[in-house]
């Protein structure tokens, strides 16, 4: 049995960026890494073969969604999430906490757990820290997340404090509920954008036997500079020897900045959601392919990109597919956007390995800023 292990391979020198490797029962993952989100057991629009082709080696599953649909009896009958989704590589699952709290108006939080109504049929459900671990163990997750209370952006400090303290109590119950030894459990540091609360949350959770730590409750609506400041303050509070995961982040800028602050893992629905809305992420900034000026454009989405979409298809053709509501558009645009973030992290790892991450980050941020809206998104002439 392979036990979970994080190997710190080196660091950048000039920044806090780190090079690492996650060892799991389903293989290794090089960090820093971007993890595509497969909410319902599928990264929207992409086959596992396509995900492998673009270099994805770890994907996310959502406990809340999979618990409601297809349901745990189906996942069990179909051999767990890996076999069901035909994904032989590592899987990280969230705890369900974030989704339950996104439906806050219908959720009732008590010390025992959270009662919520299904967004599908309104049926009532109770999710406790013990349930969250049980579900994740049934899914067969390689990296499980502790069940946390995630307050909304802008919550009063008292509420943030109470959520942070409850997260600490629930963290202990999550650890006690584990029955498997072949996977990891990460704790989630809360505290919103309040430095003192973050410090207290980190100080407490890092005393517990978690295999890694996440920063939760960030990028939930606050300004991106506030996110970056919180990460800058919180990352050094986490143990050097364990992986650091910034949940639900983010944009290429977020990834570039936060790798430099010492974050190892990221996940976000952005690349696939953007793709469905025809928003294309490129080295020269994002642009919206709906714009009429791309109608006859025979260039790839990103002329510098090496993905299957960019080496085969033109903007004009992809725009045609989008306007015609062809699902192939979702597939190709998602493939490109996800590849872009995965490739961004591949480049980051190469830069860290040579101690040149500061220049890598600076150049890529400048190029995206330079190429952004005015040049790419101007209205058609």
């Amino acid at each position: 049995m392979t036990r979970f292990r994080f190997e710190l391979l080196g660091d950048d020198g000039a920044t806090a960026a780190r090079l690492g490797r996650l060892h799991t029962a389903h293989g290794t993952v090089e960090t820093p890494v971007f993890m595509p989100v497969g909410t319902l057991g599928t990264v929207k629009g992409l086959t596992p073969a396509q995900l492998e082709d673009i270099g994805a080696r770890i994907i996310l599953g959502n406990t809340y969604h999979l618990y409601l649909r297809p349901g745990m009896d189906v996942v069990r009958a179909l051999g767990g999430l890996h076999r069901m989704a035909a994904w032989p590589h590592p899987i990280l699952t969230d705890s369900g906490g974030f989704q339950v709290f996104s439906l806050r108006h219908r959720a009732r939080i008590e010390e025992h757990g959270v009662t919520f109504a299904s967004h599908i049929d309104g049926s009532p459900h109770l999710l406790t820290p013990e349930d969250a671990i049980g579900i994740q163990e049934t899914l067969g997750s390689d990296i499980m997340m502790a069940f946390d209370e995630c307050p909304p952006a802008g919550a009063p400090v008292g509420a943030v404090n109470r959520a942070m303290e409850r997260t600490s109590r629930w963290a202990r119950r999550c650890i006690a509920a584990r029955t498997r030894e072949d996977n990891a459990l990460f704790g989630i540091v809360q505290g919103g954008v309040d430095g003192e609360l973050r410090r207290r949350s980190a100080a407490d959770l890092t005393t517990l036997p978690f295999e890694g730590f996440a920063l939760g409750g960030l990028s939930v609506g606050e300004a991106r500079e506030a996110t970056w400041e919180s990460v800058a303050a919180a990352a050094p509070l986490l143990p050097t020897a364990k992986p650091r995961y910034l949940m639900g982040v983010g944009t290429p800028e977020d990834l570039l900045v936060c790798v430099g602050l010492g974050v190892d893992m990221f996940d976000c629905v952005l690349p696939t959601r953007h793709a469905r809305n025809a928003r294309i992420m490129t080295a020269d900034g994002d642009f919206n392919l709906r714009n009429a000026k791309y109608r006859l454009d025979d260039r790839p989405l990103d002329p510098t990109c090496g993905c299957y979409c960019c080496t085969n298809f033109s903007r004009g053709y992809l725009r045609h597919l989008h306007k015609s509501n062809e699902v192939l558009f979702n597939t190709l645009a998602s493939l490109h956007n996800v590849y872009y973030l995965i490739d961004l992290m591949r480049g980051a790892r190469a830069a860290i390995a040579t101690g040149s991450y500061a220049a890598y980050k600076r150049e890529l941020l400048a190029r995206r800023a330079l190429g952004a809206a005015p040049a790419q998104d101007a209205a058609a002439p």
Copy 2:
């Protein structure tokens, strides 16, 4: 320059089935062949790489649809249909006639051509035989179809006769309109299910310098036995040395029967349309995956199938994707259904090569009949 050429490699002996090879400027195609339909320059849900993987070597494009969207200026700017759709293999295009007549209530047929209203924005358009050839040459089609008048099933014999005679006159105009020599033009035999009209149509068109012949106006609503009888009567009227194409057909049963009647080429939207409706085609008959009895079913769609979908995913998982409206379902189910028909024709070619097509056809028809509705489609207990 490769000129179009049909090579007759052999026949079955006991049936009229033939083994052949189409030589085109974009490569060769073994016949009998099923051609997936890529209406708008994409076989719905599948990338060119996936089509290649399942053995597709020729796809269809629809003149009517591509003419309206993205429009010929876009196709021209993007380098023609092959380059635009990143499909390096042969493409057959229809003439637009069938779609125009499907919108019959809004089309006005005159000797000069057909005036119709766009189904997208109602704008008026005129399509003549000369236009149909011009558009197909711009698309870069390897096999163009003549512009024909296709009467609806059940039309009075006088109307069928007039359509057949007009098709003969338009055939001459199509031939005269050609400006390229690197592709083929197929004539379309009309005459509905009337044997005498079919004979007259075939007798006239086969005097013209077409590189192949299609049977049109079949499988448009009449009983399948009537289709088969018409094919049985009409196929021997076509020259042995040229390829025979049965347009818009069809089901696995249609393919198995009509290969045995000497047809070389088929196309149909059935496998992708069925896939979107969760109707799965298998060696043991079709079934609908929506049925609750597949909820926990960990078997592949077709346990005897070798496609990517069947070697990786379970019915239970695919049903979950379908119920969750995940586009990956369309991709995987389409991939399976198209593979099934392509593989059916691969098996047919192997059987013809050994003179055993009669047994191949009999066994596969029997197995599908045996496995059909009662066993597979029964309501959940």
